[in-house]
Assembly symmetry: D2
């Protein structure tokens, strides 16, 4: 799989693959297959038709680049697929519309990508928890407005990162990924009274939630997903940002993994942390809830690259934050030595807070 | 209460008041009062001190304009308040930092404003449900990419609005508004081991949630709140946007409340709906999760006006959408007459969908 | 003048005043007055009518709060004004539409606010130039990715700030503020062939540019203005951000003006610089160029508060940056002392660069 | 060339290619080659070294996918290239830093992509001008807030599009694309007094402007470019958006090019216009001017994909708008027939306005 527009620098290959055109196409095929089966089960289309369609919908059967290019002419990538499937069997796509296929495929892509993001995120959280536990007695300066304020511990700082990352992860996990099926106008009319049953079976077959209503014109769940990705990316970026500040030459309290400079032999750049912040800053998908009538003319289509990019870069932010923490050298001596004398007048951090955070995390 | 920067045109007075400088100051006073009482209850400060502080913290005691202006010099509005309170009693603000007061006050402001938003939003939802029920048999064209697609009903359209609005409302309702207390560096150190107890009592006193950890440096919950406001504003804007499209001269399927034009006697502008869309489009608060260390230098401070504005304009969007629906004239005849002949070949909408949505709403 | 939503903390009073509802109303009156005079001069309306209208349009004649509140009902603040003016004289607003008045008033408000921003910005630039000149030999570490890289001078750093601020200022100065006059549909039809002449005279009277065409439906110039404000705010924020980093406890190379903390006597917060960054981060107006037909239903109306806020906060960012630099203590010894030994291997900065920048600035 | 993340649907192949990783790498090679030659000409490096380096820098010499993947480890794509070039000749990259190469390459990529955008944009403008001229007498309704207001002509509407598109184009054309050279800290120190001369020669060799100062830490010109792309995309989106509204079933005043639906034989979707709006809505690059010191840790790196994407999608918006207008059928009869009777009371558009716009365009 090749990338363009710099993705390979910021996003791990598995995430790029999971959000690639090829996987969107696979997901669209999975939706058509599941729709055919659900429709056959509900008695809406003949069982042999469903099997013929399902066979044609094997992953990798169609050429994603061609489908996308043809999709330009009709402003959606489902139409070229549906055309091919109907050549296989006239019952293909029966009762559905392009948006059903693309929206449901978007949820499938999101589901897979979310799992990959969780893998990275869980490792980030584990690293935070480990640092919180290991460094519960590692005194350092708390800094507000970038001025030393009072003593804290590196453990408590890491516990703060932990809570942020886990809160964001829980928010993302709570986003309900639902199947979409409505037909041409979102009315389910073409299923002859069996629409709700087909929707139920479709959702079940694909492991997605069943929505209260077709959501073709209600983009709340897409915006909610986008917002949760922003939280995750931001919570990771917060960790990486703090690491970069702690790694400053004049502070020197941590050494994050990184590489050399093209110009200076002495220099050690906090490369992973920088990638994490840069990736996190790319995650700002604009999902426009104010679309026109039963399918919007522009806002909906803009969701596809926006969400694909947000999933990929959120994964990138999480992966680079994981790298940053996994390879982080903590200089406890320097942390102590940096504490300004004036801070000696202030009491030490309440060390039950770390236990509290770890308990919350474990619970 | 006066406004500036056009707010009075877009935001109902009660919402503007609820997010005004004066109410932020009241909220900060409420936090100082609750902190004093919680601290006294935990045995951290003397009870008479707590009462003296509580007395000084009555709403309206201080001049918000003065406090804000003085706040400029120190980059926060809590310092001028704390200075005054300490003149009243030296135990005022004991163990706390400016951010504790402002963050908790922000949650109180959000709590009150959220209730006001809910009032508007519930009325929007009721109107959607009423229209869904009343117009379950009112046939109209479903329009995708602004082209007539297949028949639907105005009831089903309204049911779609309903689900979007209620999903967004539930998301906003689920945002946990939590007290913040951490002291100068977020360590609770100045409470001599009683920090967690004081935090618990503070949260209880103010009717806010108790967070797993002080969240001074973890802005996930603020961004989550901001994101939920965007959903609410967007879901309202979607309704208003559709109304504007239906009210087009050439469509004429609804007449929303509105007013005349300065230049043309014949013209009826969909004013409320336009205000709703414009207000909704103002709701895009940028909460930066990547702040520096234990208190960020810029990103945190930018949250205050951003959140105040987002709360106000979300309320504005909801209120104007409510006005739009409450005064909406529906022209069922025109809806039917507008359906293009080609749509006659397609089956009618599955009318169980409306029941499904209403049941979900009621349940 | 009162403010709400925190503006007084971030924005100087003069800027808040310049962008307030009252001044927008004054500006709308100025447009109606100029329109009446231009129309009389072109022979479109009687001269005595023009004088009666001009008299009624004196600044402060109408109550801004009332006008804004009434404007809610019709989704624009010009209608209530026009109603009042027509009671004075039936020729008031002849040939024009609400948007003509509001758009041209927006340009007048922008013009005045821009001058105030320039005042602040010119002082920022002067301070940068002074620091560049004074510190041309003050060696310090250049820092890339927050790691010390090679030696530079504080003078060169300040020269870099200077160029950014001045480039942004020049961009803002180059934005053409133009009168808008088109009448109900942007056709100038109601002026009986004299529309272009009235537009010419109107622009002249108000000291605004004459556009190639009425721009009611073409928002490029508004978006261009918004973009230039973002540049100015960002260029100021860059200066303030660097100051905050240099003022870190562990770096200590500058002491910016600021105030104490509510919790810690020893602490000196870089308050002005923090206000500057926070104000700059508020400047991100979303001007939607994709509006509907001859006047958009939502996007246009959203411009008013967006632009008012952007003007105000850009001024706030510039003013706070000016305060930051005007009161900045530079610790040249500490700058030298902080340079890491490894940097000794690298040659000193090319000192002709400062002259180059100062020459460019002066030229 | 393959794409991912949906680009092929929205962006013409030539634009995708122009902004691809491969072309960024070619551009980085071009910068290294020009730097070597400029340095040799200035006597900073030996002439034969320059030739050896130039030879190694031929387009396509290195594998972009490999370079990007390796770039992840050091948070920049120049380091892997420089490592390879130094194996060829030790004088490669002499005096420069990664940022010099990437920033200047970014300007080269922008230069090429801008030319491609101009090609599309000029065709858009030509089409607007043609429509303005052809339809100067084609009466239609002007619509404000989506209500019919007064009569206008389709010619005048197209003239309004023309002015917006050309204003945006002129803004983009006015953005100065400049070479960047500063060395490790932006001081030009490593060129032994010949830095300014090398910068001058480098800019000349590459056909880029010479900046007043190295701009590594001053991102005004990048943000200005980003802003100009937003204007262009938005001005195109405005045209496409209006076309979509005019093509509504109930309006039917134009038929834009497009394709069928997967569900409905009768339906003609305004596909190109939808692609144009969707692409335009993707153009919202966030360039953060507030970066840290001499090279920011995250904000700078985030510019690369942001700008690549903005260039690509602006091209996509322009190309799809061109397609839309080139294939637009205008139904003059329907335009006239749609005019509501009440509009008969209002005078016709001032037809000199079209000449005025065409003259301005031609001039």
């Amino acid at each position: 799989m090749r990338s363009s527009l710099f993705e390979a620098l910021f996003v791990p290959e598995e995430l790029l693959l999971a959000t690639s055109d090829a996987r969107w196409l696979d997901a669209m095929c999975a939706v058509e297959r599941a729709l055919a089966r659900a429709s056959a089960q509900a008695g809406v289309i003949p069982a042999p038709a469903a099997e013929a369609i399902a066979d044609a919908c094997a992953p990798g059967h169609f050429d994603a680049a061609k489908i996308m290019a043809e999709g330009h002419r009709v402003a959606n990538p489902a139409e070229p697929l549906v055309r091919r499937l109907r050549e296989v069997n006239e019952w293909a796509h029966h009762g559905a519309t392009s948006q059903d296929i693309i929206d449901t495929a978007m949820m499938l892509v999101a589901k897979t990508a979310r799992e990959l993001i969780f893998e990275q995120l869980d490792a980030v959280a584990e690293n935070c928890a480990r640092l919180a536990d290991e460094h519960r007695a590692t005194e350092m300066a708390a800094r507000t407005l970038l001025q030393q304020a009072v003593p804290t511990t590196f453990g408590l700082k890491a516990a703060g990162w932990l809570v942020g990352v886990v809160e964001a992860r829980r928010r993302l996990a709570a986003v309900e990924l639902a199947a979409q099926l409505g037909g041409a106008g979102g009315t389910l009319a073409a299923f002859g009274g069996k629409g709700p049953e087909v929707l139920h079976l479709l959702a079940e077959e694909l492991g997605l939630a069943e929505p209260p209503l077709p959501w073709h014109s209600n983009r709340v769940r897409v915006a909610e997903l986008a917002g949760a990705l922003e939280l995750v990316a931001g919570a990771c970026g917060k960790v990486a940002g703090d690491v970069i500040l702690l790694a400053q030459t004049e502070v020197g309290e941590v050494t994050p993994p990184g590489g050399g400079s093209t110009a200076m032999a002495h220099k050690h750049n906090p490369a992973s942390a920088v990638v994490a912040v840069a990736a996190a800053r790319q995650v700002a998908p604009r999902i426009d809830l104010i679309g026109e009538h039963e399918r919007s003319a522009g806002a909906w289509q803009a969701e596809w690259p926006a969400l694909a990019q947000a999933l990929a870069y959120t994964g990138g932010a999480a992966a680079a934050t994981r790298e940053t923490l996994a390879g982080l050298e903590v200089h406890a001596e320097r942390m102590r030595a940096n504490i300004a004398p004036e801070l000696g007048d202030y009491p030490a951090a309440d060390d039950t807070l770390i236990d509290r955070a770890l308990e919350w995390y474990g619970g």
